[in-house]
């Protein structure tokens, strides 16, 4: 049984008005425990709406979502509990910090879950460790932290809830390349260590290709593709056609292949490209 199963999921905004729009159209897929899935798509492709349906923030207009075999909307009054199992980090999460101390803010989620004080303390410490937040910072006001520290504190706040599925919406938005690399590797270590399931939404196929096992491509509300990373990259040109940016390295390989060179085009890292070109060159 899959951890998360989505059946014919749709969401329509403004039903019956002149502004009626189908944001998500008939999406069906299953996600297994332990997977790391990248979600990519335009602004307006429906990816934000899609993920907000997975944790019950938005109620689908059609279709169902099964978590551990149970429909999450079976008992609408208990929908809050779903959010403890499916954690979500929004874009620019640092804008949601509010507590007197970083410690208290990270504890907000666990507190809402009704956990005991000592368990909360443990969760906070563990979450802070995953994002490399120094213990001295915990007693400070969140507003005294640097931009990067604030973001990590906000992410820790969701990790502390220890969700089975962690969804991150563009966690590296606005970060410089170094900050982005550090955060992605922290997320990757977190995933490996917890062995839970992670969904990461991003605009950058370069970022996703580095850490995801599978990629979901959304286009205009529809599921364009959902497959292993390498197989998605073999569809590189199609993905470009729907307006998404494929990594420079993939474009280079496609460009060389077009010039007649026998090179694979499902390449998404510089190392892979180097190996393939050197192999060709030695021939």
């Amino acid at each position: 049984m899959s951890l998360l199963e989505v059946k014919n999921l749709s969401f329509t905004y403004g039903t019956g008005t002149a502004f009626e729009k189908k944001a998500v159209n008939d999406v069906s897929l299953s996600i297994e425990q332990g997977e790391f899935i990248g979600i990519i798509g335009h602004t307006g492709s429906g990816k934000s709406t899609f993920i907000q349906m997975l944790n019950g923030l938005i109620k689908p207009t059609e279709g169902q979502i099964f978590l551990d075999g149970k429909d999450i909307w079976e008992n609408p009054k208990k929908i809050r509990k779903v959010r403890f199992k499916v954690g979500m980090v929004f874009q620019y999460p640092e804008y949601q910090l509010f507590e007197e101390t970083v410690e208290k803010d990270i504890a907000f989620g666990p507190k809402n879950m009704g956990l005991k004080d000592d368990e909360i303390k443990e969760r906070v410490a563990s979450a802070a460790k995953f994002v490399d937040l120094k213990p001295e910072l915990l007693k400070k006001s969140p507003f005294e932290l640097s931009g990067g520290e604030k973001r990590r504190a906000a992410i820790a706040g969701v990790i502390a809830m220890d969700p089975d599925i962690l969804i991150l919406d563009e966690p590296t938005a606005g970060l410089d390349p170094r900050g982005r690399d550090v955060l992605l590797s922290q997320i990757s270590s977190y995933h490996k260590s917890k062995n839970n399931t992670v969904l990461l939404v991003s605009h950058s196929m370069e970022d996703i290709s580095r850490i995801a096992d599978k990629i979901l491509v959304m286009n205009k509300g529809n599921m364009f593709a959902f497959d292993e990373t390498k197989k998605i990259f073999s569809k590189g040109e199609e993905i470009e056609k729907i307006g998404l940016q494929i990594p420079q390295i993939t474009k280079i390989m496609i460009g060389l292949a077009k010039r007649g060179y026998k090179l694979p085009t499902d390449i998404y890292s510089v190392e892979q490209a180097v190996n393939e070109i050197l192999r060709l060159q030695r021939v």
Partner: protein, 283 residues
């Protein structure tokens, strides 16, 4: 006389109540910008690039040293209005720069402050909006626009003041790929067609590659200054300072260091494909 001259500038933030260390952000930095140049300032968060950006139009003033624009010193309060007429500033957050509830009224804000007569303002606003391809949105409300559109309106607001130079502080950091492309196309157009001096602060390599001149900042000092090709060819130096290079450049560099020499430093996909093709055919 240089257009903008930065001479031995030192800038620091004072220690706060908690006794956090006095942080020197700019350490005796000197830089000259010539009229009509398209300069990209590259660096980490914390390298001092954003601070420097705000010195070009006198929003921030140096603790030591001086910044002069056409001979006018930014420390001279009487000259600030004239300096800001010549040097405009576009910031990172598209939302927090727009003042009015209607696009064309926001673009008119600058000229209105300069006391320009109404008919002339109208003309400038229309021309500015056309220059950024937003003329058809002139009657729209800003909050309904996409990030890329908002930034273009912000740029139009600066163009309407007819400056000689526009400084853009990470203008695409909060935008999606579509928005980034719109803004970068606009910036390149303004430099090439209207000969406006552009100072672009960024941490995106592919954006920096579009400039005529690339200045890399690290720890408040200039690390290197040259054309994009010159700067990016020095891959080792950049990597040592945790800076990135475009994937095209990195591929060529890694191939060359593995024994397969690629001539030239490619900055983008076409150049890279061309260079590898040539190298493979040479065998």
């Amino acid at each position: 006389m240089e257009f903008i001259d930065v001479r031995d500038v030192v800038f620091g933030y004072e220690a706060d109540e908690e006794g956090k260390e006095n942080k020197i952000v700019l350490k005796k930095l000197s830089l000259s910008i010539n009229k009509g140049e398209f300069v990209a300032l590259l660096g980490h968060n914390g390298s001092g690039k954003s601070t420097l950006a705000k010195m070009f139009n006198g929003i921030l003033q140096p603790d030591e040293g001086q910044v002069t624009v056409c001979g006018m010193n930014t420390l001279d309060e009487d000259k600030l209005l004239d300096i800001r007429k010549k040097v405009g500033l576009v910031l990172q957050n598209p939302d927090n720069q727009l003042v009015a509830s209607i696009v064309e009224e926001d673009v008119a804000f600058g000229p209105e402050n300069l006391g320009i007569e109404p008919k002339e303002i109208r003309k400038r606003v229309d021309d500015a909006l056309k220059a950024v391809d937003m003329y058809e949105y002139r009657g729209h409300a800003p909050h309904k626009l996409s990030g890329g559109q908002k930034q273009r309106v912000a740029i139009a607001g600066i163009i309407a003041m007819q400056p000689d130079c526009i400084v853009l502080d990470e203008p695409t950091a909060m935008l999606d790929p579509q928005g980034r492309k719109e803004v970068m196309d606009t910036i390149v157009k303004l430099n090439k067609e209207k000969n406006i001096t552009i100072i672009l602060i960024t941490h995106y390599m592919d954006e920096a590659a579009l400039a005529d001149r690339l200045v890399v900042l690290d720890g408040g000092k200039i690390l290197t200054d040259g054309t994009p090709k010159e700067v990016f060819s020095n891959v080792e130096l950049l990597k040592k300072h945790s800076l990135d290079v475009p994937q095209s450049t990195e591929l060529a560099h890694k191939l060359s260091s593995s024994g397969f020499k690629i001539g030239d430093t490619p900055l983008d996909v076409e150049e890279c494909v061309e260079a590898i093709d040539k190298a493979l055919k040479k065998k």
